[in-house]
Symmetry: D3
Subunit: 319 residues, 6 copies
């Protein structure tokens, strides 16, 4: 029923643009999976614009249809899915915004819904993890060109280069269950990734990925994250700028869109409890290509989250 | 209260994009003025893309604030304003779409609300007028580069070049209370505008407008349309393509954005009962300039409609 | 001689843009291969603009030189090649346009020429096949992200999602000699491709293609289409949007341009009797990238058609 | 008849793009007015791209219809008009190209046709004038942001900054019958325009134009050029870059498109014997705005040339 | 000598891009007028990108030549002019950045040079004024679509909507010698401009400007600012978005580029001691149009500042 | 020290844009590696714009950081690196420009520095090689879609299609130590590459590269170029236009950015004495993608040159 919905009756380009054409809701309690925007790029030290990401991804996400082509399942048949709107960010106040994000994610979790967030720059992952990992640190599959584990940048400890370091320090992220895939690009210093490695974080560089192939990277992700609750954070700059030019810190030599799709699909076995897509910067985009790619990967994540949710619900019912 | 709403609390670039950040509603009965999209360009004989107009205008309209700078009044303080979503058009069936538009507008009118429509190509004005002028023919202020009173085009009587001829023929539009402003551009034949003139339609060409100035064009519009119920139809190609490049049939030598603002503002005395903005074609636009200009003029129309509505309500109360 | 022609004497950016800089002709009898445009997107249920495809492909096709780099043969040495202009489509009348297309293709075939068409949206393949398969159903190699075998869309049986279903039903296309390569993307319903499979159409999804490699897909195409007369239909959205952003229904995870070249080249053994390139939508393009890619693939098809034509002529002569 | 032609039967976006949709001809003898492209920017000392001007202007010119909105006359009813293709320029040889241009224009003149040329950079006016002014120096109305009367630039006497100085020196241009309108912009040296003034050339700067209005500039042009044979050279950078961004040497503070139309229309009384439109640079353009503006002004020039031609023919007949 | 410099020897598109092709210097003491960039948009509450302004304006400023077309004087002959590079802003720390700006401007002033700054968003005017008005409050000519005298925005007192309120409160700006020109656009509340008016600031709205003409606005600016030291702050959004689309908060109905030029030129009599150009946002620009317009107005300001500087130096010498 | 420099203190988007944020110097003697621009496209026979390459590459190069991610070494720690500005080209004089380039490169070499040049079109490689190969012919690794060994084009022997033929003829390039990688695209004539092959040049077509993989192409390059002094010339059109659309003669089916990175990195063992990056054409680019890709490859080359330089210096010291 839900899955038979609008695309065949009302053209996909029509109507108010919500994530995946799902209903716009204020109350997370009406959803099993809550998609929300976090239009904040106040942690950006380089080229801005990711604050416009949620709206552009919403627009392109209306091109998505209702079933996954491989699983032949529809997340809309499995779960109640809603667009929760955007977090009320403050464009000139980082601290206030981080607090607002954590609070909103906590509300969603408290309502029993799974949050799927669209940034915004990568700093938004930190306040999300503060809510998601509040009770116990979660595992992480982090797809990105950059490790984002700097201690500080321009003297600030809260930028889009530092979220995962803070998350480990704050005990909401388990470094031994964390893997970073797609890392590449020129470095500020030879020590750039040393802290991450010292914490036990597993880094799969693009060179390793190209050597071993995408399937080995998937296997490694499944091995590292294991069976515990896991967060998925996808920075669109993991893709090559030919596939995703609209991002603040592009690095050539990245993933193709097929590899990105396959990588996300391969994470099906994980117990994903929340996810985000970040760093889509529409003012830097062309022909909405990056927003389309982001929306398409968001769709893959939505399907993953729906499957994981169903499994958890089934387990809970059985026990 | 309504007017204090969101812009100072939530950034204008945030949230699901609705017209003027007004609430998205299904029931026109909850509104005094109903803004709706009509994403249809099936009447376009030249360059398409106006089907994407409503979404792009929604996006840019969120830049608008709450009060008019000249009147210092806010339409949100005067009326209940809602985004009614888009009409369920059929991109491959003109007849079905025309019927759906008329039906939707009639619903809105029946609910006591004033429809403010965003196209779509100019053919959408015809089914709107069929509802608006059902009981008695309305007057019309039509701002456009083209008269759109052809009999047929490519053998079809229902294209974006013919709506006002059909409307006169069908008795929903009063040609003696109709004025067309901004007409210009190369002609198909010397007779292009003869039918319109023969019906008593007043045409103010760009040359006449430049000679007499915008204020004389306004005076003429007020004189022609007079005190009866009047429709306002604004084709964005009335503006020069420097101000509005994103439209299917651009004609150089058009209005500036200031002239367009002033022209619309000057129509304040009219008893406007409905209005539309048409022919914004986002795929042909650059930097959202045309959508911004369209949204800004839509804002002016909204203020006009709110004022007219209030006057009618006051008159009704008095009597 | 013909192959020594203009590129070294007159710059490729100069002159009226015709397909491959070939002469503009009205009479198909003066050609062995007739390249023609079909500027119609009236079957488009999503984002329009393919009506502008022929002109943009013409423009970029002037960058092509005269010989194929692998075969070292020039189609201009093998055949008389001409630009037959565009079919006189009617942008607001689907039925009239379908008839006009069939009639024009039939004229070309009657004159003994091989038609190579540039759309327009994918609906144009149906009226072409009506002429090409009039006497006996043809085989088909169909490269596309979508199967285009829906029964109807928005209540219409004639849209760019339905041409090949109609063609099978009408007996102009042999489903057992039909292969679809590159299929992918989210689905409307689990049954989306069931009809096609039930008819015996062979579908090679992108996943199968990535598993087996492009050469296995080619082998499969040769096996399925076999030795009979075969049509080649290439939808530019078979390519990844990084390579072809300017199309109405993009799907990430598609072919690279090298794979597309190699795939077309691999079809050399087939008895191709006609071909088309569709769904290039210039208003959605950037830097003419999609038009360039389309023109480059059109060039590959032209070389294929010339070779096939020569073989047929030689066979005819021998017998 | 000619004027009833294609626009109502075949959409304007269809077909091979020729200037004003006129027939593509090789022989100037079949025309009264010969429109031709000169795709050469080898005289450009700043930003290149004008070599792509003719093709882009052809494309946009197909949006023009058949009659002039003020005169209600169609040049196609008055004259035989053809697209003569492009001059066979050599992109790496200035001297050879200048010779080729002069030769081609001379051919056209010898055939009794009036040449209307589309550049290319402004250097192309020199070889045109060499043919047009061969027998007696012509007058000139030159609309431009720059005087283009430098002696040399980067040591070269043949650049797009020098054509009119060379033309005066060579005796093909009469400086006393020359007027330059729209001149503005920062200067290389205080003497920039001294040579021109010393020759008797009349310069109407933008400041003078804004003071006196466009009508006074027209009157001055008519006074200066007088009754003798006159050439019209229109550099698109005379317009403000808001109206014509796609040009190599933009200067803010320029003409609006309406002023440009009106200025050209005001030259109706002159005995125009040839004209050009130059410096449209498509790679620097957005949304084809400059090409559209250029095509629209080319249309105005075509109407002027047709009227002037008819007057000359009538005079010749009378005498 | 300086004025004979590079444009005729080295093409304007060549070389490292510095402001007006002036030498890049570290020491303000080597200059009379110091042009510097302030790449900071951390005060932006709407659409970001102005941090990229300085580099884009530098690039386009190399198109400027050496002499002013009206005065025939070259600032390079009057003064030593240098590009001082950019202030070392901190993209994630507003307070630190404001301090760094004030310090750098103070250094420049201490060295006896006149600072001409390129933003960045409008917040940068505050720290500049803190240095410029340190000893006595300065007058201000403020050209802008917005008054920028809000008390706070999103709870912050330091945003691009508040600089001039802070400057008045801090005693570095004299409100009675302050004029704001070009104000327009929808309002947040009826009180938006009340504070400014109450302080004695003179506001010339676009409506007043269009009524009285640009010359009356100039006269008013000269009257208000009078003979004391005056600051000129030019927000590019004073121009209509057709002329300057690349800015964060565009408002239709604005100045043309000619009006902007004329307005700046008209301020010649003022004793300008510093100036800025702000809110050019390259990621939102098209075809570098806004950067070009900004650079062209920066050139006008440079000429003004050079003239004012010379007058002050002459006065100092005489006394 | 040098490597700790600016990126962490001053944002990468700030400041005057120099190559890799290195100091702008006039004297090559202050550098070990001199990066310089050659803004000349006077050898371009097709689409121009490469004259704007150096400035766009400078801009994007400021996104590069300080260390290579694989070697963990910083060229800034190994060598003194400077931006030498642009060669003083003459846009309208090929011969003068070629002489100026050779002279400037010779100066750099005489000062003991290694030149790393950014074009400009490919003709600039010839005058560079004249200086680099003056004493003995050098080897060449040439990455490109085209062989650029034509004898003449449009009658000229000095175009961007002929540099390497001239270099061999002039004895500055050793054909037996020359390899061309990435060659593809339609041909003018079957003999296009015959001359190159006859000289002993090794051509690795894209087909061969795809068959054997990038590592075999690297091995072949190392084998051919051997241990002698070698030049590296990288034409950005070697990449697929999806990765590098901004170039004058794009050919689909090219390298990915990862392959390009890997190819350059694989050349580490060679004794590289100079290198260039050519054919980045910003007016044809989108979202600076091609300039970014070019800058990223320039960074790889810089790292290679620094390593090679250090090895040579060490060898010299030892002997």
């Amino acid at each position: 029923m839900t899955s038979e919905r609008p695309n065949l009756l009302v053209p996909r380009f029509a109507g108010v643009a919500s994530f995946m054409r799902s209903p716009v809701l204020a109350d997370p309690g009406e959803t099993d999976i809550a998609i929300l925007g976090i239009p904040f790029d106040g942690g950006t030290t380089n080229r801005p614009g990711a604050r416009h990401g949620p709206r552009a991804v919403r627009d392109q996400s209306t091109l998505m249809r209702r079933l996954h082509p491989v699983t032949k399942r529809s997340p809309f048949d499995l779960c109640r899915i809603g667009d929760l709107g955007d977090v009320a960010v403050n464009p000139v106040d980082v601290a206030a915004t981080l607090a607002a994000i954590t609070e909103r994610i906590a509300e969603i979790l408290a309502a029993g819904a799974v949050p799927l967030s669209v940034g915004g720059d990568h700093l938004v992952s930190l306040p999300i993890l503060r809510a998601v990992g509040r009770d116990r640190p979660v595992g992480l599959v982090h797809v990105d060109a950059h490790s984002d584990t700097w201690d500080s940048f321009f003297g600030s400890r809260y930028t889009h280069s530092t979220p995962f370091r803070r998350a480990v320090e704050e005990g909401v992220l388990d470094p031994h269950r964390t893997i970073q895939i797609g890392i590449r690009g020129s470095m500020h210093a030879a020590e750039d990734n040393d802290w991450a490695l010292a914490q036990g974080i597993r880094i799969v560089t693009m060179d390793e990925l190209r050597e071993g192939g995408i399937d080995r990277a998937i296997a490694e992700a499944l091995r590292i994250a294991g069976g515990g609750p896991t967060y998925l954070s996808f920075d669109i700059d993991a893709l090559d700028p030919a596939y995703a030019p609209g991002t603040g810190t592009p690095e050539i030599g990245g993933l193709t869109s097929y590899e990105a799709q396959r990588l996300v699909r391969g994470l099906g076995p994980l117990d994903l409890v929340a996810a985000d897509l970040v760093e889509v910067s529409p003012p830097l985009d062309v022909a909405d290509l990056t927003a389309l790619t982001g929306a398409s990967l968001l769709w893959e994540m939505l399907c993953l989250l729906a499957d994981a949710r169903i499994r958890r619900d089934a387990r809970a019912e059985r026990s």
